[in-house]
Every structure is written in C-alpha cells, then in structure tokens.
Homo-oligomer: 325 residues x 2
C-alpha cells in the first residue's frame, strides 16, 4: 500500500492512504492519525490501512479525494532517528579520486552518518538556503522506515522490520562538507533539512524490484527540466538490512527510524548520470581537468522520481525549488 502525510497545521500532519496510481487519497484517521502512530502500532493498524487501500483501488472508498503532492509533508515530517548511509562505494571512490581525499574506511563496515530528524521538508516546498557560496547540492537516495529493532539484531531480522520505502533528497552544502569531514565529527552546517518523497510504500508494492534489501529501480533526476541522471538502486554495496544491523550493534533502533542509502551511484556513471552535483563535477574534473556544472543557484528546480517497470511513478516526485533564505 501507499501512505502519505498531508499538511494540517500540526507538526506531524495527518495520515492518508494513497491509491497505487497516486491520483486518489483517503483520510486514515479512523485507523491511525499520523504516520508516527502507524509505525509505532504497525501490526495493529496494518489491516485497517490495507482495507482502506483496497477500497481506494476498487474505486469505492467513501470520502476519497484527489491526491495533491503539493499538500504533502514528508511521510514522516519528523521522527526520532535518521541515519544516512553512503552505501554506494562507487560514489565515494569517484569523489576520492577527483579530490585526492583519503577516507580511512574500514573494510566491510558501511559508512553511516547520524543526522537530525526534527524538521523534514515537504516534497514540493520551496527550499531556503542562506547563500549560494555554500555550494548547495542535492543527493537522490532511497530510504526505509523501520519498526522497533532490538540491540544486536542481525541483517535478516533487521530487513524483516522494514515497513516502508521512499525516496529522499539529502540536501548538502559542499563548502561546509569538506571542512566538517576533515574534522572528523560528522556533518552540521553541511547537512540542513532533508526532503522526502510525497509517498512511502510498503515493500510489497515494489514487487520483484525489492530484493536483497535493495530497490532495483532507477532514480530519475532532472535539474530545471533537463535530464541529470538515472542511476539504479541495485548497486548498493550493503543492503538496508546489513546497514541496520551495523547500526543496531550496541543500541536499540526505535520505530520510525529512517535509514537513507546515500546518493545513488552506478559504475556506469558516465553513461547513466549521477544523482548529485558533486559526483558529476568530480567526473568532469577527472575527465577534463575542470568542473563546469555549477552548484545550486537560487531558483533552481530539482525533480526526483522513480518509475516502475510499467512506467508508473512509485513514490510520486520530489519537485522543489531552491530559494534564498
């Protein structure tokens, strides 16, 4: 099934069930008022939400209305934990080559970054940032929302706790990123608010495209209406289950925890394009000695969308404009 959160003036918004084709929605308040409530009471609310979804699909849901992604918040407008992985080693490898970085990664251990989760932005909201000198960038990613996971759980158990899948634009400010990376303590000014897709879906909605704990679909990115890239999620070097297990080594993960994949990146990046500016700029530097693609300008419009095998949008599109704060 597909779920979204609509703006209603509150911090957590209101939960709706969305039809597979993303045209219709129905209020889910009779089952769960918010996405956070739904995730915390999943086994209890899932049948009721599925029933609403079935009614929507059958075209006889009373009270159904047109779904407008502009009125959507992030599926979880806020939550209690967000961890972003950097699970496509290809991306890091390109960056390290281009900028002679030495990231002391440990073999076999995924790179994870603890992030803030108090203020996610809506998929079509204007995104404010203070100055173009911060070298703004986007990162198209897949993400999962999990149920409670106990300390010490293995990858298989963790994967079984994945309740929802979505997309995100993990906005980055590269001027701060290199400074903060060198310091070692992770990202602060480099990582302002993150933006999620209009809709989160249960893994079964992805059919065969959800396997090995990865999304085997292309992340289609465009900038100002022009194709930017369509790398596939299948090349993740760690599954979401493996990432979650590393995270749960010595801590519980509580319901609503979100894990991002890191910017989607393929070994054929020169053909399929990238999901972030930094990678494209790094390839330009490696290939011609000079990066020519500019960082984010005020007024830039970014769009991220994933289509299924039939060409239908799975999560709806993140489609937003970057503006002066």
């Amino acid at each position: 099934m597909k779920l979204a959160t609509l703006k209603n003036g509150s911090r957590d918004g209101r939960l709706v069930v969305v039809s597979r084709d993303l045209t219709q929605a129905i209020d889910a308040a009779s089952v769960a008022p918010t996405m956070q409530f739904a995730i915390e009471h999943w086994s209890w609310v899932e049948p009721g939400l599925e029933a609403l979804y079935d009614q929507l699909q059958a075209g006889h849901a009373r009270g159904a209305f047109g779904f407008d992604p502009k009125k959507a918040m992030s599926p979880l407008p806020r939550t209690h934990q967000f961890v972003d992985a950097s699970a496509f080693l290809n991306h890091g490898s390109i960056m390290e080559q281009a900028y002679q970085l030495t990231v002391k990664k440990s073999e076999g251990i995924p790179v994870l970054v603890q992030r803030q989760s108090d203020d996610f932005w809506g998929p079509c909201d204007d995104y404010p940032f203070p100055t173009e000198a911060d070298n703004g960038d986007f990162e198209g990613e897949f993400g999962v929302v999990v149920d409670d996971i106990a300390i010490g759980s293995n990858a298989a158990v963790c994967e079984s706790k994945i309740r929802l899948v979505t997309i995100l634009n993990d906005v980055s400010m590269r001027t701060h990123l290199f400074r903060e990376l060198q310091m070692g303590f992770g990202f602060i000014n480099a990582k302002p608010a993150t933006v999620f897709g209009p809709v989160a879906v249960t893994p079964d909605e992805l059919g065969q495209s959800w396997r090995d704990g990865r999304v085997h679909l292309e992340m289609r990115v465009s900038r100002n209406g022009e194709w930017f890239g369509h790398p596939n999620g299948c090349e993740m070097d760690w599954s979401f289950g493996a990432i979650l297990a590393h995270l749960a080594y010595n801590r519980n993960l509580k319901a609503g925890t979100i894990v991002g994949s890191g910017t989607v990146s393929n070994r054929a990046a020169r053909e399929v394009g990238s999901a972030c500016l930094a990678e494209k700029r790094a390839l330009e530097k490696l290939d011609s000695g000079e990066s020519t693609t500019p960082f984010l300008k005020y007024g830039d419009r970014l769009r991220f969308e994933v289509l299924d095998a039939q060409g239908a949008s799975v999560f709806g599109a993140i489609d937003h404009r970057f503006v002066k704060a």
Copy 2:
C-alpha cells in the same frame, strides 16, 4: 521549577512536577501529559506547571507522592534532535596531546556531533553493552532543551529559547571512537544510548549559577563509590547560545531539541579530576607514560550529580550500573 518523566509503559512516559528538594512529585497530566507536549506548548503550559510547583513547595499539593528517581525515564525519553558539542576545548587539547591526534578544527567554530534521539535511557537503569573490549567510557555533561528556534537566529535569541537544563552521561565506546573519528563521518558504534538526569529544571532554578549561557556548578562524578572528579561547567569555551546559533545557521531547530556541552573539563584537571575515563587516561599517559585507569568493566557503578551553593542536589543523580548486553 523542576520536571521529570516517570515510567508508565509508554514511549514518552508521564510528566510530573518535582519539588525543589526532589522528595515530592505531582502528576502534571492536567496541564501536559508528556515532556514533549510541554516543550511544544511551553507558553501555554508554563503557568499551569508553575502553579503545581508552587503548591508542591507550599506543601499542600493534593495527590503529591514521593519522588523516586529509579522510576524516572530521561526527562525526554526520546526527542527529534540531539546534538552533542565538544565545548570544553581543554578536553580536546589533552586528548590531542596524549594521542598525537590532529583534529582540524576551524578557529571560532564549535565542534558539534549530530546524535540519535530515539532511545534515551533512564538515570538509574542498568546500562547494557556487548563487550568490555569496546573500551566503554562515560562523559558527564550539562545539557539544555530548547523551544522552536528559527533558521538564522543569533546567540542571544537562541539563549532565550532555552527552556530546561539537565545533566547527562554521554556513554562512549572508545574502541570504535578513534576508528570512526579518523573516517570523518561522525559516530555510530562509538555512541550508543545517552542517559539523562532524573530531573530537568528551568534556568531560573539555577539562580546566579546560570549565566553567560553556562552552568557555573561542579559536575561531581564517582565510580564505584570513589571520587573521580568535580570539574566546573563554567569553563565552556562556547555558551549554549553560541552553539545553538552555529547549529541554526541554515536550519530550523524544533522544540525538544537537546544540546549537550561535551564532557566537562577544567584546565586544573590534575586537581579537580575529570568527567570521563579517556581524559584521566590521557593525563596518566602524559604524566607517567602509561594509562592505568581501566575502561568500564561489567558491574561498574557510575554516579553524576550537581550540588547547588547550599549543597542540595539540583538535578538528582544519574546513578547506574554497566552490565553485559
């Protein structure tokens, strides 16, 4: 006034108002059911909570009962953002000297670490960790809880949004910390769940000990009943307001955001002691060439407490035992 959260089987617990001497409590459900609710509706609930506090102090609060810190959760058992600073440069300086670390800090910019906030542990709960080989450590810190802070707010505005002050033990696993620090992306396995004091207090409770955005009181730390250190919070190199302003440079901070000071550390550390094992071990290494104080052992009992000028406990004590997970 003083506030605490008692265990009631729910994720957020129930809010109580606690008497100044920490002996009595009264349910706050008539005003605010949870700490998160109180912080999100502060101007609305503050008068009602103050009225309950006044009744408790006057000794005629109907329904008052004995306050037992063993039944307390962290004041916010979970929240939407936790950022830990490393605001005592003296601590970093000792660590860098002892271990020949080169942390590329930027002059004038505080070191902050984004942290998880989904699962804080209670002040007297047994604390499980998987293996002594992880070189477990504690860090006694001060922390603040803030109201909503808008993007771009300055230090004075940020400081005016501090609603509560408390203490925390920021548990660290040093084996993972050095590896993760070298990688640059911040801490994951190095920083399992954090533990907060039984009680959070409004800044006015601290009187003259709350000034310049710092707590001018000693953090008294004991290990297995023996004195370990009593460094003073006054030597923070950045005020909480300045730390918050750096964090809010390009993002909103939402109500319930917690900022920690970093392990309390004084220039006279050889006299007043430390608030973490790593610093004591570093001083031993610098002074005698060898660290002799062991990292956390199963069964170790740690206690953190802050006394006011009259010798009364301000926040109650974090008093917990480390056990095998």
